[in-house]
Amino acid sequence: MNRSQYISSFRSILKYLVRGELKIKYKSRMLGVLWALIDPLMLMLIYLLLVKFIFQRGGPTYAVELLTGLIAYRWFSTSIVQASRALVSNGKLLQTVRFPFSVLPISKVLINGVDMLVGFGILFILTFFFDIQPTLYWLWLPVLLLIEFQFIIAMSLIVSVVGIYFRDLLNILTFGVRILLYLSPVLYNIDQLPGDYQTLYMILSPLAPIIDAFKQVMIFGHHPSKFMGIFVLLSAAAWLIAVHLYRSRPNLSKDL
């Protein structure tokens, strides 16, 4: 197979996979695509209840901040958990046909990307009710989405291969992303942390720069912080690992 055949085959498999799974996900349920709305909203309400009414914390725009963080976080967490099983659960297929295996984890990122976009739709509507004016900073949004997208893809590729050799990964990730939620600025904002620790936090918490950036441009009217640089470096490292994992394993299907 030459390069252009490879790419076009990659794209059409991706197209049918994503189209098919979206159909299964939404058409086969009574509430259909509404679930993409209900899911993040319910989560938001739960945390809103917890933080705003029980702990009595959070400012006037807390609900919007929360939802912004949740949407960015969930795109990552759901994709990663699903991607870790993407190759393992298709073992039979991988041993029958040679095709670009990486479409399987990547399709998960795209499918969850649709949920993410629906989430942003709700978010835009909510900003109206919370009196948040659209600003030029919103022009950052597509850029941030692309940056997060490529990071999630790299991470998904990594976990999909690691998942073959290390079957406990799924269990670990299920807990891992939960912990990550609390380690990320979703339920709180960076400036609520003690000043001395903010830099350290931004360096150590992998999703912190991107989630913070979404909040900054969407709600607070700022540019993304300089820590986005760290996030981009992290992505580059993730890509190196991901490409190495796939390149060095032409016989991946034998290990399934």
Partner: protein, 244 residues
């Protein structure tokens, strides 16, 4: 013209009891390449295979269960990369007759045809050209619009078979053990396989039936426990095989 050239081909598998289960070994194995493993942790599913097949020839592969016949098909299909020696396939080989692996239960027949066929590497146009024939051959009727989860196992196998035989490659891999469906359909599928063979394509046929090997194959390869026992004219190889 040479269609398939196999030189000193070897494929080895890790034995599962040596598969990495500890965190340390997993981490180490991820950092290093898939490299030479210790002698005792693996076995050779195929070793020192040597044969050449010309365009339009039909190769029968025989040998007892577990001798490595399916592994050989997988190597020719490009699924496994040789650990030793080399293989050259002119053009592209079809996938194994996969009989519905990769079907998504909640999608209907047509959607699954497109999904399956794109995974097999065919373009939308190539699929459009044969979709009517696939549907007709599968005899699914209006069930083609039903989700595959409502199919009987025979119906699923028929659809998988129909996809596999209508989307053709320069080299076709056929595992005859997978003869499917009821008597009538099996007759039809045998006809279809005959048609493929007489089409002038290069065909690799794995079968336990000496009769079909004799009928169709110009060359024959006998492997036993991954080792090549004989390769050559069909009748000679079969005689040796039966005498063993």
């Amino acid at each position: 013209m040479v269609a398939i050239e196999v030189k000193d081909l070897g494929i080895k598998f890790k034995l599962s009891r040596f598969k990495a289960t500890r965190v340390k070994t997993v981490l180490l194995s991820l950092i290093s390449k898939q490299k030479e493993t210790e002698q005792r942790d693996h076995f050779w599913a195929l070793r020192k295979l040597n044969f050449t097949l010309n365009n339009g020839e039909v190769l029968g592969v025989i040998g007892s269960n577990g001798s490595g016949k399916s592994t050989l098909l997988r190597v020719i299909g490009g699924i496994f990369v040789p650990d030793e020696g080399s293989i050259h396939v002119e053009g592209r080989a079809s996938a194994l007759l996969s009989l519905g692996t990769g079907f998504k239960d909640d999608l209907n027949g047509i959607e699954n045809i497109y999904l399956n066929a794109t995974i097999l590497g065919f373009t939308q146009k190539e699929i459009d050209d044969v979709i009517e024939q696939i549907i007709e051959f599968s005899e699914l009727g209006r069930f083609i619009y039903e989700p595959v989860k409502n199919y009987s196992s025979g119906m699923k196998a028929r659809l998988g078979f129909a996809i596999a035989v209508h989307l053709k490659r320069e080299v076709m891999l056929i595992d005859e053990i997978l003869g499917v469906g009821d008597f009538k359909f099996r007759k039809k599928s045998t006809e279809k396989i005959k048609e493929l063979i007489s089409d002038g394509r290069t065909v690799i046929l794995v079968s336990h039936s000496m009769e079909s090997i004799r009928n169709y194959c110009t060359k024959c390869l006998w492997i036993e426990k991954g080792v090549q026992k004989a390769f050559g004219e069909t009748n000679e190889v079969i005689e040796k095989y039966l005498a063993s």
